[in-house]
Amino acid sequence: MSNTNIVIATKKLTKQFGDFTAVDAITFEVYQGEIFGFLGANGAGKTTAMRMLCGLSKPTSGEATIAGFDIYKETERIKTKIGYMSQKFSLYEDLTIIENINFFGGIYGLPKAALKTRTEQLIHRLGLEAEANKLVGDLPLGWKQKLAFSVAILHEPSIVFLDEPTGGVDPITRRQFWDLIYQAAESGITIFVTTHYMDEAEYCNRVSMMVDGVIAALDTPTNLKKQFNAQTMDEVFHELARGAKRKSD
């Protein structure tokens, strides 16, 4: 990662709901082409933070730019520069693979010719030629998730946000999914990913750990393990989350 272009920059970004501070003055930067792990316990504020970064929720205070655009004034431009997928929201089950690709390509305003080429490339890359006209609902979960990721980066965004993309996926497909993530990162797309699989934290260039709305630690996995005198990222996570006051239970 020789590139140090900053694609996400936040400064004291805060979100309050009534007297509850969900995200408490977080400041961090993410670089272009980086795989950035955004970790934290349930209820630590990850989803709220992500919603702000995607331009879906207005911050209470603080600043942030996403792909160079302001998080308060330029949310519509941000949306053209990002991709998003989660385990819950991905594709339309009642549309075929081709229909889904065309739909999302259309939403992102891809010109017809470009959409046609990229659709062919995508189908070919995933080896889905025989399934192209099948309903997405009939695909195994692993395929759906790989397809959803490819559709989320169809418009070549600067950043793709992945919210627990590999939840419930079998161990081989989970690793194939990470191959796709590596490929995307190498092509210059920044990956912003949350996961509950601690081995996946190791695959990130840098990892941030949210505890009670603040970023309690942010570094490379190697440095975090050194800092917390831990053997694995799971131990780092336990060390940090144990101190949490805001309990998910």
Binding site: G40, A41, N42, E164, G167, I172, T173, Y197, T232, D234
Partner: protein, 305 residues
């Protein structure tokens, strides 16, 4: 007699028929903590729904706590507790009201079995007036477990109770299960998290409606057929690509900080491999023998099926 006996159970859905369960057989002993380990779509939920009498199998039979799942379904419903993977309590009722409701339909009271749920319920008691729909994920999970336990079932079915739950809360949940086991309740729990396999007494690895293996976690990992090594270098992504193209390699998969590798020929020495990788420009190479974990075994069995 074993508490759960499953013989040649099969279930198909739709037209053309999709096989959800393919001729499954296994038994679970009284008071055993038994894990079904497998990804989404493996058939775990279908199996639980059949064993809790919510779904009929196409063929095969099953006995739960001495009763036949088809003929004696009414008897089974009184004796089992079921926590579905999807939160299924009444969102508009409060914590307390949900618990009271489930106690009432099982013709019992909260007071009668309070001791059994006390350890779990005390975490959510401060919020007993809150609507179930307004609880956090962790609290919903605890309330659902209390509701599944309030009639003191003989057999407890927990369908993916820890999915989407963070690593710390998952550990807490398993501590609760250990305490329930001490009460003599037979527990069947399903999970997609391979690391939770070691917390069960026996496990079944399930994939595409078939049980690939069934044994204690220790015995399953002991039967992994290859010598396994953990390897790392400064460029893990490149290392993965290079190892995949290296002919002597049988398998290579990422496992966090390391890749796990096995060789086609057991005689293959790691020194040659390290020299080969060094030639390709890898630095800070490190390689050492390891024992296989459940995920290694699952991947191996998936690939050889």
């Amino acid at each position: 007699m074993n508490d759960v006996i499953v013989e040649n159970l099969s279930k198909y859905f739709g037209k053309p028929p999709l096989t959800a369960l393919d001729n499954i057989s296994f038994e679970v002993g009284k008071g055993e903590l038994f894990g079904l380990i497998g990804p989404d779509g493996a058939g775990k939920t279908t199996l639980f729904r059949i064993l809790t009498t919510l779904l009929l199998p196409n063929s095969g039979k099953a006995i739960v706590n001495g009763s036949d799942i088809v003929k004696d379904y009414k008897a089974i419903r009184k004796k089992v507790g079921y926590m579905p993977g999807k939160f299924s309590l009444y969102q508009d009722l409060s914590v307390e009201e949900n618990l009271h409701f489930f106690a009432t339909i099982f013709d019992t009271t909260i007071a009668a079995n309070y001791k059994l749920i006390e350890d779990i319920y005390k975490h959510i008691e401060p919020f007993k007036k809150r609507r179930a729909g307004a609880l956090s994920g962790g609290m919903k999970q605890k309330l659902a477990l209390c509701c599944a336990l309030i009639h003191r079932p003989e057999v407890l079915f927990l369908d993916e109770p820890t999915t989407g739950v963070d690593s710390v809360s998952r550990k807490e949940f398993w501590e609760m299960l250990k305490r329930l086991k001490q009460e003599g309740i037979t527990i069947l729990v399903s999970t997609p998290y391979m690391d939770e396999a070691n917390l069960c007494e026996r496990i079944a690895l399930i994939q595409d409606g078939e049980i690939m293996s069934i044994d204690t976690p220790q015995n399953i990992t002991a039967t992994y057929p290859y010598s396994l090594f953990a390897i790392k270098s400064t460029n893990m992504s490149q290392l993965l690509t290079d190892l995949r193209q290296y002919d002597p390699i049988n398998s290579v998969f990422s496992f966090g900080e390391y890749h796990h590798i096995s060789f086609k020929d057991e005689k293959n020495d790691t020194d040659t491999t390290l020299a080969y990788l060094q030639n390709l420009g890898h630095t800070a190479l490190e390689c050492h023998p390891i024992s296989a974990n459940i995920e290694d075994c699952f991947i191996h069995q998936m690939s050889t099926k």
